[in-house]
Amino acid sequence: MTWVRTKLELERMEPGERLAVRCAPGEALENVPRSAREAGHDVAMDGHTLRIVRR
C-alpha cells in the first residue's frame, strides 16, 4: 500500500517537486524505490527514507 499512496501523492505534485517517503523494512523498503524508479522518477535512499523528485 505504500507505493499506492506514494503514486497518488506524486500524481498531485508538479514535475520537479520532492517527496520523502518513510518505508517500513521489508516489502515496502524493497518495492517502493524500485516502483518509483520504474515510473521514471529520480530516487535516492536515505536510510529507510526514500527521497523522490517527481519527473
Binding site: M1, W3, V4, K7, L8, E11, R12, A39
Partner: protein, 266 residues
Amino acid sequence: MSTSRRELFAALRGGARAEEPDAAALERYSRQLVLPEWSERAQRALGAASVLVVGAGALGSPVAAYLAGAGVGRLGIVDGDAVELSNLHRQFLHFTPDVGAPKAESAAAKLRFLNPDVHVEVYPATLEEGNAAALVEGQDLVVDCTDSFAARYAVNAACCAAGVTLVEGGVVGWSGLVMGIRPGQSACYRCAFPQPPQDAPSCAEAGVLGPAAGVVGSLQALEAIKLVAGVGEPLLGAFLQIDLASHAVVRVAVSRRADCRDCGGA
C-alpha cells in the same frame, strides 16, 4: 489528512458511508490504482459514473461484476427474466438457490456484497422499444448484454438518440462480438449491421459455453472501463469478432453510414 484528500477517498468510494476508514477504498482499488496507466482521476471518473447493464445473464454477469468491483458509482441492472437452472453454467451472478428469483434482484444482491459502495439500481423489466429511451436517459454509458436482436437494436437506437456511449456485445456457441459506440463520433451497431439476421440461432438453440460468454463479457467490461475512465484505447469505429474455438480474433473497421436510421442524424 487534508480536506481535498478526504474528498478524494469519499469520491473513490462513490459516496460511501462516512464511518468507513478512508484506507478501505484505497485498499479495495489498490491493484488498479497502482497501474501506470491508471490514476486518481480515472478512479474518480468511475466513481462518478452511472452505467446501465442491460441483461443480467451470461454477458451481464462478468460485466456487472467487474464494473462493481472497479468502483463504478451507480450501476443499473435491467432484466425482466427469472433465474432458470439452465442459466447457471454461464451466469455466475446467480446460484442454485436463486432459481425462480428475478434476475435483476439476484444479480443486484451479489453486486452489493461484492462492493457495498456501489449504488445498485434494479430495473426488473425487459428492455424494448417502448421503454428503452427512459432506461437509457441520464446514463453515462450503457452495456448491452441482451440475447435478442430486437433488444440490441432498441438499445442502439436509444443510445444514439440520447447520445449515450454504448458497449455492444453478443455471444453464441464459441463465438462473440464486442463493439464500442460513441454516437455521433463512431459507427453504431446499425451502421455495422443495418439489418438483423433472419435466421440467427439463440443460445437455447445453438448452445453456448460459459467461458466463451465470460471472455466476451470481460471484454465488454474492459471497454466500458476504458471509455468511462478515459484510459487505454477504446474499441471505437470497429468491432472484434472472436472465435474462441480457434482463438481467432479479428478487428473489423466500421465507418458511419450517412443513411443510418439510428445515428445518421446524430
